[in-house]
């Protein structure tokens, strides 16, 4: 019984990381219907930015967020304004092709600059400290921190979208970009802000990833896949759904790994396919679409 509870608990906490991978993807798709194939590679890019920041200044990985978040925010703004905006409004293919190309460019640039060696960020005692919940049950402080951060980030995005003026503009643009322009919204600027925000969230996910596991320039696409699965399981356009999707994916992987370590990823994909078959629009689709 405790073992089963432990499996679900660890899976849930892992789901927090997946939700952080997915939140940016969900936000971007929700606001501008852009499917960002380079999302996973941008996570890896942010991890390398953190690596450089840590190595150059000697600060810890968590503290490096003060540098990584603004840097990736600026990268996101520039990327959208300088490149991705011109791929929108021309059908579904141009953004897919351009972000696919971007994914290859980022991977190869990182390979060129940092080699294929796998890296990891060290967070010291935080990585191994744990909180005892019972005689045979404990959770690591670090996974707990990741999960609580995911909840806080998604709550924050939710407040931004539904309680602020810029959030109102984001939702208006998502509903009807042309009508939004007639209400003073500069779509190009707003889309760039959305990408900047998404990459700020990506930075947090990247630092957690880099502390939790090894990374190298080629791990982006797998992270993209987890992010996609979390978004689709949760239902497009719903941020809390994305959190739920991440948790379901995490629990499925954790249960799979418990049965046989080789089944971890497979179990996640099976859960994803099951949701697609039973609820093609995901578990919590947005009411209006």
């Amino acid at each position: 019984m405790t073992a089963a509870l432990d499996t679900v608990l660890q899976g849930t906490l892992l789901g927090g990381l997946y939700a952080l991978f997915a939140a940016g993807l969900s936000l971007i798709f929700g606001i501008m219907r852009l499917v960002n194939i380079a999302h996973g590679d941008l996570i890896v890019l942010a991890a390398y930015v953190a690596l450089v920041a840590v190595q150059a200044s000697g600060i810890g990985p968590i503290e490096s967020l003060v540098i990584v978040v603004p840097v990736m925010f600026a990268v996101g703004y520039g990327l959208q304004r300088g490149l991705l905006n011109s791929t929108l409004d021309r059908g579904i293919l141009p953004p897919l092709l351009v972000t696919f190309g971007l994914s290859i460019i980022i991977q190869n640039a990182l390979l060129e600059g940092f080699s294929a060696d796998s890296r990891k960020l060290q967070a010291g005692a935080l990585e191994i400290a744990s909180l005892r919940l019972g005689p045979d049950l404990a959770v690591g402080w670090f996974p707990l921190l990741i999960f609580l951060t995911a909840v806080a980030v998604i709550a924050g995005l939710q407040v931004l979208l539904y309680r602020t003026r810029v959030g109102r503009a984001f939702r208006a643009v998502s509903d009807d970009p042309e009508a939004a322009r007639l209400y003073g919204v500069d779509n190009r600027h707003l889309f760039a802000l959305a990408m900047a925000l998404a990459l700020a969230v990506v930075s947090i996910a990247a630092v957690f990833l880099a502390v939790r596991t090894n990374f190298d320039p080629a791990v982006g696409p797998a992270r993209l896949l987890f992010a996609f699965e979390a978004v689709i399981i949760g239902g497009l356009g719903s941020l809390w759904g994305t959190l739920a999707g991440g948790v379901i994916l995490g629990v499925a992987q954790s249960v799979g790994a418990k049965i046989d370590p080789a089944w971890q990823l497979l179990a996640g994909h099976v859960a994803f396919l099951l949701v697609l078959v039973l609820r093609p629009r995901g578990l919590f689709p947005r009411a209006v679409d």
């Binding site: 109102r168 503009a169 939702r171 208006a172 509903d175 209400y183 500069d186 209006v288």
Partner: protein, 233 residues
């Protein structure tokens, strides 16, 4: 003195297709003009050029004696030209009140506030938290007009506001016009319903195939002249 808004020799294109051929229209403060014409005459295109959704040469559109042709839509609304799009086009995931606030977010000072607007259209106050999809067609149109008024425009462009609405609802909508004009707002209505247009307008422009074929005050124009200008026969 220059008119509040004027176009001189305005042309417009969709790709290679020319939709407008040298349109001259002028409107003063507090004036209401109606643009009538058959489907495809270029009425909506004309409004889309003025509000910045379609490009134009700068000097072909002048507002408060400054060239504004080809400015992006978000800058034109900030200057005080608001557009009520055909088909209402309310933001579906925003509540009625949030839709209205989108107008206020443009940031122009003026007579229109939520309070004032709810006095003009009391039903919107009742439905302020509702999703626009749950409103009747007439209520949606009130919200769309209200959203445009919340930008405190000096020119209000209305594209086919009566389309698909029952006559009693249309009368209710047009009954709001005097309150809007009283603020000095100039109004351009594009209408297929000629009678409605003739009733509210100070002057009428008849469009056919991208050209102005007739203009004058409703009193001065005879039915025959309008029919000829409208259908080209």
């Amino acid at each position: 003195m220059a008119p509040l808004l004027e176009t001189r020799g305005l042309t417009a294109f969709y790709g290679d297709f020319q939709a407008l051929f040298g349109i001259d229209v002028a409107i003063d403060r507090g004036e209401t003009i109606a643009i009538i014409g058959a489907n495809g005459a270029g009425k909506s295109t004309f409004l889309r050029v003025i509000c910045g959704l379609l490009g134009a040469e700068p000097d072909r559109v002048r507002h408060r004696d400054e060239a504004i042709g080809g400015l992006p839509a978000n800058r034109i609304v900030a200057r005080g030209i608001a557009m009520v799009l055909e088909g209402r086009r309310l933001f579906a995931s925003l509540s009625v009140e949030e839709n209205l606030r989108m107008g206020a977010d443009v940031g122009r000072k003026g007579p229109w506030s939520l309070e004032r607007l709810y006095r003009l259209f009391p039903i919107l106050a009742e439905r302020r938290r509702a999703s626009p999809a749950t409103l009747s067609g007439g209520q949606q149109q009130m919200a769309a007009i209200g959203r445009a008024l919340m930008t405190n425009p000096d020119v209000l462009l209305c594209d086919e506001v009566s389309l698909g609405l029952a006559p009693v609802v249309i009368r209710e909508l047009y009954a709001a016009l005097p309150a809007i004009r009283a603020e000095g707002t100039a109004i351009v209505v594009v209408e297929q319903d000629i009678n409605q247009a003739l009733q509210v307008a100070d002057r009428v422009y008849c469009f056919m195939e991208g050209r102005v074929t007739l203009t004058g005050t409703p009193k001065a124009l005879s039915r025959e002249q309008i029919r000829a200008a409208y259908f080209g026969m």
